[in-house]
Amino acid sequence: MAKRIVVDPIPRIEGHLRIEAKLNESNVIEEAYSSGTMWRGIEVILKGRDPRDAWAFAERICGVCTSVHALASVRCVEDALGITVPNNARIIRNLMHATQQTQDHLVHFYHLHALDWVDVVSALKADPKQASVIAQSISAWPKSSPGYFKDLQQRLVGFVESGQLGIFANGYWGHPAYKLPPEVNLIAVAHYLEALDFQKEIIKIHTIFGGKNPHPNYLVGGMACAIDPNSDTAINIERLSMIKKIIDDTQTFIDQVYIPDLIAIAGYYKGWLHGGGVGNYLSYGDFPETSLADFKTLLWPRGAILNKDLSTVIDVDPRDASQVTEEVSHSWYTYAGGDAKGLHPWKGETTPKYTGPKPPFENLDTDKKYSWLKTPRWKNHPMEVGPLARVLIAYAKGDPMIKDTVGLVLSKLEVGPEALFSTLGRTAARGIECKQTAGFMRHYYDQLVANIKTGDYRTFNSEKWDPSTWPAECKGFGYTEAPRGSLGHWIDIKDQKIKEYQIVVPSTWNASPRDANGVSGAYESALKGTPMINPEQPLEILRTVHSFDPCLACASHLFDMNGKEITVVKIV
């Protein structure tokens, strides 16, 4: 009989991402349903507020992606009001954004996703000498002696024996889908811990430019930091050299740790190429070399690919009402003009209407409405956004750096480009992109230093700060490519206040429920056809969902003294 399995992270607090999968008799996923079970509703909170304050609210939607929402928000207000930011502000924003991307990808790989491929408990059985030989054969990274791995292993053993490895207690350790030898597991665990140190350093760039971290300061019209090479309190020579050191260390870590680990781990999994999904890819593009409006100069190109056809990248215009739309035929909202008709975000509506079961419940009625996420579509196509989409679009457009790195990874793994259309390909794309954004950090650092040398210290354009200079009504679109994909903020300003605000986040594209035609979004499609070894331990589902880097569990972080199991798996 067909089984239905449910993976729900926090059933106790309502919210977050829930996956329901129908399996056939051979435990292959026949259908999957992705549901966002918490309403975010930021649009309602922003109505009537001063548009210059919107970023400070928008950055609270998400626990991790604070600065990307702040960035998209100031960009949409500037677009509406016709504000051009000074060159320094453009460069600093790009540098901060490249920093965020790089840090986020590293943390995602090591601290969320690696444990879908790496068996921590198996590392206890590793031969530290052999681990050292392997580590030295794949990288010049200095922390690779037998003694280093032996010490680490003893520390892990100590934790397990004292019962403290309760901190990793809920893994599916020993699951047959884990394929790495104990020594590679040990190397990966070592780098899991090293990456923690590393991510603490890299984000100091946000503190330098944003005044504080987390929640760095953004500003409509520019950036709030002062530049003065000779001042103690401004961005000065000392701070710039600190940034340079962080960038040097970042590039070394990615080249010597992240990329070699990725290739080493992927080598054991290249037979597991499930999780491809919709095969349509979208990117708004980012990293403007001039202004955002001139999207031909974006270092990350804008475009769309349909049906995995890498020979054609189609032009994209998110302002065009016929291109980006959201419908709510399977979402707990209602539209005045009918739920199945897609609305462009400038015409968007946010009227919640919950018709689902009362929690706690066993199953969602997936024939009807089953998610708090809307269903975004590009020209009516379901699209995947994120690192794989961006890498494929850049690859198809012939970006030399991306072509080189993709070529290197594919040749080391001895697979063709078609292997990219998979969960593993998505994971590889994130690493490839991380190497690229670390390069962008250096690029923008160099740009900033060169610009300061010309004597240009300006970071803020105050021309239209005063609301009396604004038109009676105006609309704007602000975009960025967040670590997990295309993020758009659309604003309508009337009488100096926010009349309407709509946000389409990357995870809404990827995790959307079905559309009115019953067509699945990226998560749902990617899960289809995946064989499960043991439905009670749905490691394969987590692997594919994690590969998208979901952003859905961030609204609420209560401290639970009970420390109960969070992600629950049920077979019903």
Binding site: P9, H16, R60, G63, L558, F559
Partner: protein, 157 residues
């Protein structure tokens, strides 16, 4: 001074009613005190792993956060050190990284501060809304004072 570096961290989401308790508390803590630089106030929002540095880089940490206590009563709770659970759960998203996982990681790495205190109040309302419920707002000054008394003691001791 007993401790040279003290971090006071407020956690939570300002957009969800009482979930914003910790961040509101840290703002009130900061506004109503004038401590030396040894005491840093941090608005941690709902960041997870990115807060690890703030735990590991000092001698003592106070965290304000909405919490679910073992036995439920609406009052201010204070937990110290070993009373705090540390675990790393399997999760759907890196955004699910909670503070208890940071404690787990700091323990694994051998970087725990000498003192770690959680001060919290169980939420009444967790709806999309900026602002605390009356019940939680009423208890907030007491929570902030508890934090200040601890810091005063550490600075004097």
């Amino acid at each position: 001074m007993k401790y040279n570096r003290i971090n006071v961290i407020g956690l939570g989401n300002l957009l969800y009613g009482d979930e914003g308790f910790g961040v509101t508390a840290i703002r009130s803590f900061q506004a109503s005190s004038s401590y030396p630089d040894a005491v840093q106030c941090i608005d941690g929002g709902t960041q997870g792993i990115y807060l690890l540095d703030f735990i590991e880089s000092c001698d003592a940490v106070i965290v304000f956060d909405a919490l679910i206590p073992l036995e439920y009563e609406r009052r201010v709770y204070l937990y110290r050190n070993e009373e705090l659970p540390a675990f790393i759960h399997r999760k759907m998203s890196s955004h699910q990284m909670g503070f208890s996982e940071m404690i787990g990681l700091a323990r694994l790495r051998g970087n725990m501060p000498k003192e770690l205190v959680l001060i919290g109040i169980p939420p009444k309302e967790l709806e999309l809304n900026v602002g605390l419920s009356d019940e939680v707002a009423l208890l907030l000054p007491e929570a902030v004072e508890m934090g200040k008394a601890l810091v005063d003691g550490w600075l004097a001791g």
